[in-house]
């Protein structure tokens, strides 16, 4: 099928008329998902889908169209729509296609074992995960969700500028949500594992972690409002870093929507803090030899020793800003034009694990869950106020669970307030890796 995608994008790129640039981006994905519930397969989904997106540029204008109809007629119509859409778009110096460049293949993002994995093993893994989660603790009364999922993807790109590239990638993951009940109160706990192949997934630790995170929240009550040190758990830290990510995109900067806009070269975080995006880090799910418009990926240090170094660019933002692309063009799918985003974003890990951070802080709140990030955290204004639940700790030891709490602060104060980054960095299914984070002081609002 790779050959087929290559052929489609090359044919479309070859249709370019004089003065016009044409880029075609095609995807083919096969996916499986298995949900287990009470010892049975509750749902199995198996899919194969493909599509192509066509970008046409001429005289600084852009037209885009996509189609899931890969017949000759479907492709012809798609190109015609993209050309017609170009006519009403405004001129913009960013409407250019990248020049071809070299990109090195990236070993380790495609695992042939996954491409060959039998459906029976996927079903068995989901059932095993469900059984283990249920058995992990007597207080677990239900396994709300036990899932296995995988994706085998192929991608091809070609442009009339001479960009050519294709690669394959695999992902496999499993996740459990345990429900624990005691004295009429229910609590949920989530855990996830991700790898390049099913063979490397570990349902045992996922089950134990999901159960533990539910059980330890039993009896949670609303604490009094205080200002105390806060440790964000490795699994919630990505939501926090995710809010920063928007402001680090050159697109947001150019559109006046980034609170980092005028802060290049300035201190934005605590001393020693390093924020990195690495598109070639195979441990992260966002690894790829080239980005969504065919530009080679790289490692970019965004914040070094607390000082803002640069922004993330694709070809459009680079052309507008007189910079060069950092290889950060990304698309959700063939249905969208390339935007700017990170591949694998993370805060460089520190020395201490989570227990070490709790010991360092002495007393405070360990946040195990955040909610309302998409509404309560505003990357433009820097206001940050989210609902959290977790456990108080004293003398470095976990104590009583708390819920219906909000923590609020200014985003830049949070960044500057990071006292330590944990050593427990891990990527799972998202493009942001998580480590435990210790923030010096935050307002924790309860009753």
């Amino acid at each position: 099928m790779t050959v087929e995608l290559d052929g489609i994008v090359e044919r479309l790129a070859g249709e370019a008329a004089g003065g016009e640039g044409v880029e075609a981006y095609a995807e083919l994905t096969t996916e499986t998902q298995v949900n287990a519930f009470q010892g049975e397969v509750e749902r199995l989904t198996s899919a194969s889908s493909s599509g192509v997106g066509v970008r046409v540029v001429r005289d600084g204008r852009l037209g885009y169209a996509y189609t899931a109809d890969l017949s000759d007629q479907g492709l012809r119509e798609c190109l015609a729509e993209a050309r017609a859409n170009l006519e009403v778009s405004s001129e913009d110096p960013g409407n250019v296609l990248p020049e071809p460049g070299d990109h090195e293949a990236l070993d380790g993002i495609f695992d042939p074992r996954q491409a060959a994995a039998a459906p029976e093993r996927k079903v068995a893994l989901a059932l095993d995960l469900e059984a283990r989660t249920r058995a992990a603790d007597p207080k677990v009364t239900q396994v709300e969700s036990a899932r296995y999922g995988d994706v085998v993807g192929q991608l091809a790109i070609a442009s009339s500028n001479g960009v050519r590239g294709s690669f394959s990638v695999t992902h496999a993951w499993c996740a459990a949500v345990a429900l624990a009940t005691e004295d009429g109160q229910s609590q949920v706990g989530f855990a996830v594992d991700a790898a390049r192949a099913l063979d490397d997934l570990e349902p045992g630790p996922v089950a134990r972690e999901a159960a533990n995170r539910a059980v330890r929240m039993l009896g949670a009550a609303k604490p009094p409002t205080r200002t105390i040190p806060v440790v964000f758990d490795r699994m919630v830290a990505p939501s926090l870093v995710g809010v920063l990510l928007a402001g680090l995109s050159a697109e947001e900067v150019q559109k006046g929507r980034s609170l980092f806009a005028d802060k290049l070269g300035q201190r934005v975080g605590a001393a020693g803090l390093q924020l990195v995006d690495d598109g070639r880090l195979v441990d992260g799910p966002g690894a790829a030899p080239f980005d969504a418009e065919g530009v080679a990926t790289r490692r970019t240090v965004l914040i070094d020793d607390g000082v803002l170094q640069c922004f993330l660019h694709n070809t459009a933002t680079a052309a507008r800003g007189g910079a060069s692309s950092t290889g950060n063009a990304r698309r959700a799918s063939f249905k969208s034009t390339p935007g700017v985003s990170a591949h694998n974003l993370f805060l460089a890990p520190g020395e201490l694990d989570q227990a070490g951070l709790l010991a360092q802080a002495g007393e405070g709140l360990l946040v195990q869950d955040v909610s309302g990030v998409h509404s309560g955290a505003n990357p433009v204004t820097g206001d940050f106020s989210v609902g959290v639940s977790g456990l108080l700790f004293r003398g470095g030891e976990l104590a009583e669970p708390v819920r219906e709490v909000t923590v609020a602060a200014q985003l830049l104060d949070i960044l500057k307030g990071i006292v330590a980054v944990g050593s427990d960095l891990r990527f799972t299914t998202g493009s942001i890796g998580g480590s435990s984070l210790l923030i010096g002081q935050m307002t924790v609002a309860g009753a």
Partner: protein, 463 residues
């Protein structure tokens, strides 16, 4: 769309290994989206998406396979893949497919597909101009228009089929306002199950001024206080809160898993006596409406709370059968690539008797949540968090200082039990609701409501 003969053949293959029933869902979607940002028409995107999914069901177990090739071979292969996941039961027959006729329609006066591209470009430019003209503090404007024509065919081996064409149109404006180093955003985004006539009711200038007004009003804000206080929620916004904090818990998949705070609460008094809430997919032309859900069940109106008593849950076919409930027509999916699950449509808190202005006058001190952002809920506990994107203090029965960064924290049952004033006004907010990775259009409506006590999270210190 597929011919009945092809559909019957695919359903037959799907049932070959012992499913109780099987279903074919076919979708063909044509969309146009135009977006203006930074004074430029950034892009106009035409999208053509189509595909089919075959589902085989036995009890609560299901297997689903989809493809975006619509030839018989690809469909039969999908049916075989789905069937292979279920075994060990006697084979069922495919019954004659009786075509269900729609009981409600959502008429389209002006077909969006016929609208000129230049007209679309003009719409977003007009919105840009109106927003910038509203106040010199307006620094950035994003305006978007989108329409979709979705043709949906459903055929079920138990003997029915449906065919529906759904047209939806939406216009959205987001404004960033800045003054003296303070930056605030405002949003408005009306949408309907209508055609291009949406723009007659909501011209770009109106939507732009609403969004700009919200952003500019918040420039004078100070950080919101933190702590417990009475909260008056402006009309429309209480619907969003109701949707998130109670509606999700009444979706029958969560009920069946006993993973909802509303499990076992049917017939029990939860809210104040005057509290009435419904989910209604039949509202003509509303954003969350349709004629049939994505399993071919006719659209319905379901009462969720009547006089404060928990009444009905929202079901899809699998959950209705499992729980012995009526199929409420709430089986929805984002696209052919997704399995249907119980979802809300237009979720409304019905109007009460109180004068909205009087509600504020009789609140000595509290928060007026004029506009809520998105929210999140844990349906097991009913706990939620909501961002207040436009909020004001209420002091001595008057709306006073704007406050920013406020979050509402609480749980669904407590909120409807503490709703001590329900206004006689009513408004609807449109949005996209996400669940299990699937986004579907939903409308949320409510009158002005006062919640006697609620936790407010803010950075302004204790209230």
């Amino acid at each position: 769309m597929l011919e009945d003969a092809v559909v019957r053949k695919v359903l037959g293959a799907a049932l070959a290994t012992g499913g109780e029933w099987a279903e074919v869902y076919v979708e063909d979607r044509l969309s146009h989206n135009i977006r203006l940002e930074d004074r430029r028409v950034e892009e106009l995107v035409t999208g053509r998406d189509r595909g089919a999914g075959v589902r085989v069901v036995r009890g609560t177990a299901s297997a689903y396979a989809y493809t975006n090739r619509l030839d018989v071979e690809a469909l039969l292969e999908a049916a075989r893949v789905a069937a292979a996941a279920l075994r060990e039961a006697p084979q069922q027959e495919v019954r004659d497919l009786r075509r269900r006729e729609p009981e409600v329609r959502h008429p389209v006066a002006v077909d969006p597909a016929g609208v000129q591209r230049t007209t679309l470009a003009e719409l977003v430019r007009r919105a840009d101009e109106a927003a910038r003209g509203f106040d010199p503090a307006v620094a950035q404007v994003t305006a978007g228009y989108g329409d979709v024509r979705q043709q949906v065919q459903v055929a079920n081996s138990e003997g029915f089929s449906t065919l529906e064409e759904r047209v939806r149109t939406r216009f959205v404006v987001q404004v960033v306002a800045a003054r003296d180093g303070v930056v605030q955003t405002g949003f408005d985004g009306p949408g309907r199950s209508q055609g291009f006539e949406l723009l007659d009711e909501f011209p770009p200038e109106l939507v732009a001024r609403n969004a700009a007004g919200r952003a500019v009003a918040m420039l004078a804000s100070r950080p919101a206080p933190a702590g417990e206080m009475p909260v008056v929620i402006a009309s429309g916004n209480g619907g969003v809160l109701f949707h998130e904090s109670s509606g999700h818990g009444m979706e029958a998949d969560l009920i069946a898993k006993e993973a909802s705070v509303y499990h076992g609460k049917q017939g029990r008094r939860i809210g104040v006596e005057r509290f009435n809430g419904v989910d209604d997919a039949t509202v003509e032309g509303a954003w969350g409406s349709y004629a049939f859900d994505d399993e071919g069940t006719p659209a319905q109106r379901t009462v969720l709370f009547e006089n404060g008593v928990c009444t009905d849950y929202l079901t899809d076919l699998i959950r209705a059968r499992q729980l012995g409930l009526r199929a409420s027509g709430n089986g929805r999916r984002q696209s052919y690539a997704d399995v249907p699950i119980p979802r809300m449509t237009n979720t409304y808190v019905l109007a009460g008797d109180d004068d909205p202005e009087e509600i504020i006058r009789q609140t000595p001190r509290g928060l007026y949540a004029k506009s809520l952002g998105g929210g999140q809920v844990n349906p097991v506990t009913g706990e939620f968090v909501f961002g207040v994107v436009e909020g004001y203090l209420i002091e001595n029965g008057e709306v006073t200082t704007p406050v920013r960064g406020a979050n509402l924290v609480g749980d669904g049952p407590s909120v409807i039990a503490a709703a001590d004033a329900i206004g006689n006004d009513f408004e609807v907010k449109e949005g996209i609701c996400g669940k299990e990775g699937q986004g579907v259009p939903v409308g949320n409506g409510a009158p002005t409501m006062r919640i006697a006590r609620m936790t407010v999270g803010g950075t302004g210190g204790p209230a």
